[in-house]
Symmetry: C2
């Protein structure tokens, strides 16, 4: 296998799931494995399991470790991508200053690179998904929390500290719900999966009748599923989508992208998420920006961060940019 064609190993560290796979230059993933994170076990044990999953993925792909050209690691922030260190990831409480890139470089004996998960998602959708062929795309991920990434004029935007694209922290309701970031009224406090579920629980706790009160645990998927027949679900969902539409319109005005890709677990609800956002952007954004943008759902599904982290590592190795690479 020549270096040029050799694939990368991609490792994604989520709050509830670890996902690994081998990613080729064509964006195809082989040997994908998903397992629970068990983050409470702490970084050393979790990362040991993550690397073991990586080795199994290489074998499952019919390869040997020496055929892997690099490792791409995707994780939520805050992280320092240049240093390859997880600083204090919000979804991994108690993990502090974990030098995951150098650990991976040692374990696999190849260069390893750390990237923000939403940045990886942007990279994946740009290279192999809904943003393919576009000059500039925004990737907005709506999951437990919200995040984002941008490819502008064909270049991934990192920001001064490597966390560029914190699209969840656009204020949409001045003085509104408390956000994890300390401000009030950020879009994440209305449209993220955890916020949608929390608001439904709050309405029920306040005495509003709802079919959702019969569920043991309410998720954003339940809210979406009952929005057509239940008042509480309908209000929570439509207010979440209105907040999302406001932030999406702001982003389209701010960046004037060719494509706005909506991804993450909450987007599994499909058209009842996509349509109100698309309608609002096309109606409310400034005319040249509204005309130029396509608002679409992500295409890479649950593999988006694995594809993105792998593609990102391969791009770095190919272009010879060394910043953030650990050999």
């Amino acid at each position: 296998v020549s270096t040029k064609a050799a694939p990368a190993l991609a490792l994604d560290i989520g709050g509830t799931k670890l996902a690994v796979g081998v990613v080729g230059h064509d964006g195809v993933v082989s040997g994908m494995i998903v397992e629970p994170t068990h983050r409470e076990e702490g970084p050393d044990r979790v990362i040991e399991r993550l690397f073991a999953m990586g080795r199994r993925s290489i074998v499952a792909s019919g390869l040997s470790q020496s055929e892997i050209v690099g490792v791409g690691i995707s994780c939520g922030g805050p992280l320092d991508s240049n240093a390859g260190v997880l600083l204090t990831p919000l979804h991994l409480p108690g993990w502090v200053d974990v030098p995951v890139a150098s650990m991976a470089a040692s374990a696999f004996d190849v260069p390893a690179i750390l990237v923000n998960d939403a940045t990886a998602g942007a990279c994946g959708e740009y290279r192999f998904g809904a943003g393919r062929g576009a000059d500039s795309i925004l990737y907005l991920t709506i999951s437990t929390g919200m995040g984002g990434g941008a490819v502008l004029n064909g270049k991934l935007h990192h920001g001064a500290a490597g966390n560029g694209g914190e699209f969840g922290h656009i204020m949409v309701h001045d003085g509104g719900r408390a956000c994890t970031c300390g401000r009030f009224g950020c879009v994440e406090a209305y449209a993220a999966g955890s916020a949608i579920a929390a608001r439904a629980r709050e309405f029920i706790a306040a005495g509003r009748p709802s079919v959702l009160s019969n569920l043991v645990e309410i998720t954003s998927a339940d809210v979406a599923a009952f929005a057509a027949i239940d008042d509480v679900a309908a209000q929570v969902w439509s207010e979440g989508m209105a907040a999302l539409a406001t932030a999406a319109t702001d982003l389209v005005n701010i960046f004037e992208p060719n494509v706005l890709v909506l991804g993450g677990g909450v987007t599994r609800s499909g058209d009842i998420l996509l349509e109100p956002v698309k309608t609002a952007v096309k109606r409310d954004a400034l005319p040249p920006a509204a005309a130029a943008v396509e608002v679409v759902l992500a295409r890479l599904g649950d593999a988006v961060c694995v594809v993105g982290a792998g593609a990102y590592a391969l791009d770095f190795l190919r272009t010879g940019t060394e910043e953030g690479l650990y050999a």
Copy 2:
């Protein structure tokens, strides 16, 4: 004069003022001339005067027309920078589809390029002003209206339709004041000079006592000047600055820039504009973004668009990018 060292002529078409000058590769402007636009005379007469100003500026710089290597034209949007056409500029009512770049190329017999005025401002501050030496800067202009531009990783961001950076149309008060863009509650409806003046007039019309009511015409500069001693001025100014601070914090979260430059006429008020914005960004933005960013006032003052348009034209000619250039 070799082509490499030869300067550009820069022409800025504002709603109230035309500004022209000759810009060298060092960012120095010579022969700067500012005159009223008289936009009601229509594009043909105004542009004829603009070009005459340009010829006078060349002479005042001690040059002949053949020593000018190109023309940079800056104007507010919406415009089509690639086609070199002013579409329906908001500050020039009745001007429709004016092919100003090809008109300038004919008049001066050199390549001419059209650029959004806030994009020109971003370019000027990045190359020769407050953003010098930074990887990524945002330029937010607070004038009669609001606009913006971004230089990201050393590259000017244009957006899909050439109007990228419409930072005035970030919604900060859901369902708030009507904005020129059709939405309600955009930052421009609170923090732009015209909005600050209009709100003060509204408060007075509603019967609130204010020293401002003694003025024949209220401007945002008057509101700033009386904010320390007058309740209406204090409220309008502080609410304007709060809106500006919210949008600035959103932008710092979204882009994670090295420098956020605040420019435009309203920033002449200095610290009473800069300080509340800086304080809010440092306190409210996500910690890595807040730590990375410097919030500063623009350094190029009223010459910012002339310097920027000139620098932009020179950069285009030097790098050989032909899109948007008319010979």
